[in-house]
């Protein structure tokens, strides 16, 4: 079942080509008089790609990319560290968890778009208000998973560790943390995307630079090509961050038996 890397890459490219082809057809071949993907709303793949190239060639993108990257990485790190810490804390203090449970859920339901002005008030217009927006997304995703992950620790392994005389800190390091790790990483894969979304939405709602700013500018003047080019860069970008997360994951989870579904 294990795919050869070259074959895998080939299949992946095939999917991309197919998607682009469908896009091209939808944008240029009318079906029953209507375009499925009217150019006004979807642009055309060729245009988008050449815009992406242009952005990189002229170099305008770098400044924006750098700002968005900083925001995303900060949001991701702060949000996930916060989620892990609070998640562990809640999982280990059932009373705290029970008392705050409804409030955590309430805060998670607040639309971040509405919170943006408040972040700007507190944190100014710089990167930090965008980071804050990203953090509010990342935090909850990581938090809920870590909280559950800690509760899923094998009772026998835990009992054994406690009988060895581990104190709370040692239990954390040697039992809860490694055991909750796969839960945490699962949430991190989701969170990477959301960190970026948070940063971009923050920029979109008020900023002077960043990919979100670019997209917002393009949207205001019906420059769909620009919007799609921005989104494409965003998306490519998240793969890079996720690649780092996956590397760290692989490193930290060496001890695991191969997942059942990966065997034979």
């Amino acid at each position: 079942m294990k795919l050869h890397p070259a074959k895998l890459l080939f299949l992946q490219i095939l999917v991309a080509v197919a998607a682009l082809a469908l896009w091209q057809i939808g944008a240029t071949v009318p079906i029953g008089g209507d375009f499925l993907l009217p150019e006004f709303f979807f642009s055309k793949p060729g245009d988008v790609l050449s815009r992406v190239v242009e952005l990189f060639v002229t170099g305008t993108i770098w400044k924006h990319l750098w700002i968005t990257l900083t925001e995303t990485v900060l949001a991701f790190i702060i949000g996930s560290v916060g989620g892990v810490v609070i998640g562990f804390w809640f999982a280990r203090k059932p009373v705290v968890a029970a008392v705050f449970d409804p409030y955590v859920k309430m805060v998670n339901a607040l639309p971040r778009v509405v919170l943006a002005p408040i972040f700007m008030l507190w944190l100014g217009l710089g990167i930090w208000s965008k980071v804050a927006l990203g953090v509010t997304l990342v935090f909850f995703i990581v938090f809920f998973n870590v909280y559950q992950g800690v509760k899923e620790v094998s009772p026998v392994v835990l009992a054994n560790a406690r009988m060895m005389g581990m104190n709370e800190r040692q239990l954390f390091r040697n039992v809860y943390w490694p055991s909750a790790m796969s839960w945490m990483f699962s949430s991190l894969h989701t969170a990477v995307g959301f960190a970026l979304v948070g940063a971009v939405v923050g920029e979109y709602l008020g900023s002077a630079a960043g990919l979100g700013y670019l997209i917002h500018q393009a949207e205001g003047v019906f420059d769909v090509t620009g919007v799609f080019a921005g989104m494409f860069i965003l998306a490519a970008f998240v793969l890079v961050i996720d690649w780092f997360v996956t590397r760290v994951e692989k490193r930290l989870l060496v001890w695991r038996p191969q997942a059942a579904s990966e065997q034979n």
Partner: protein, 287 residues
């Protein structure tokens, strides 16, 4: 019931000596959803003196593991008290080491780390802990498997890692739940001898659950028999008056050994028969 239980209280022969473990009238119940409470262990008592090696035998599912869990402080008894070295046990039993019946190694640590951590948490420097752990893994025959993760070991190898993990801390009370179950007869004897030597060193108290009556007699000072559950109690208490030090293999040739074996076996057999009296009508027990 209470009186009957008392009548067969497994009491240390020399009641005056200080007690390492004293289970007094303890009863243990489990809440099972949608059913009446399951009284696994009826009020029963068991005393283990310092330096005493007590083996517990009994039919499967009678409550041996449950009793060890209560002694370890992992399970709160529904009634009665657990005292450790004269003090009432609150929370975990910090003086005991526990070898669980199930796999309890940390899957994210290698065999070596699993053993070394037992010392490291006490504050020992890592290098020293590792050196000792290496030595212990060698003693249980796993010198070549130190870098393996638990899922890369066989069942018997995992058990031996767990054994090293418990023994390396040299706790004053050893709780062992079928420690030699998945080992071949030969390895069992080697491990038994290892255990006896350690035990002799500084008067550890041992509670040893096994299904192998010969092993129980060969190793212990007393063999305690539990009745079939529910409401299991201790119904037999046999002092083993074989000379020490013993050799786990040779002792089996001793005539007194056979006498004891016959004696205990006959009571045990009756007890097991009772279990199947209820449940095994479909099958004629063949003994």
């Amino acid at each position: 019931m209470n009186a009957a239980a008392r009548a067969t209280t497994a009491e240390a022969p020399h009641a005056g000596a200080s007690l390492a473990v004293a289970l007094d009238d303890i009863a243990i119940s489990f809440a099972v959803k949608g059913r009446p409470v399951f009284n696994a262990v009826a009020p029963t008592s068991l005393h283990v003196r310092e330096g005493e090696f007590v083996a517990i035998v009994g039919p499967t599912g009678c409550g041996k593991s449950t009793l060890l869990n209560a002694t370890a402080g992992l399970l709160a008894p529904a009634g009665g008290t657990v005292s450790i070295f004269g003090e009432k046990l609150v929370g975990l039993n910090a003086r005991a080491g526990y070898l669980f019946q199930q796999d309890a190694l940390m899957p994210w640590k290698t065999a070596l780390d699993n053993v070394a951590i037992a010392l490291e948490i006490g504050g020992m420097r890592r290098a020293d802990a590792v050196a000792q752990a290496q030595d212990w893994l060698k003693r249980v025959g796993l010198a070549r498997f130190t870098e393996r993760y638990p899922h890369e070991l066989s069942g018997g190898q995992r058990k031996r890692v767990a054994l090293a993990q418990m023994l390396i801390r040299q706790p004053k009370i050893l709780l062992m739940d079928e420690p030699f179950g998945p080992l071949d007869a030969q390895t069992r004897q080697i491990m038994g001898t290892l255990l006896l030597r350690l035990w002799a060193q500084d008067r550890k108290a041992v509670l040893f659950v096994t299904h192998d009556l010969e092993e129980a007699i060969a190793l212990s000072d007393r063999v305690v028999i539990m009745s079939a559950g529910p409401e299991a109690r201790i119904i037999g208490d046999f002092p083993i008056d074989l000379a020490r030090p013993r050799d786990a293999a040779e002792i089996r040739l001793d005539p007194r050994f056979h006498e004891l074996h016959r004696m205990i076996w006959s009571q045990l057999k009756a007890e097991v028969a009772k279990t199947y009296g209820d449940d095994m009508n479909g099958l004629e027990a063949s003994s």
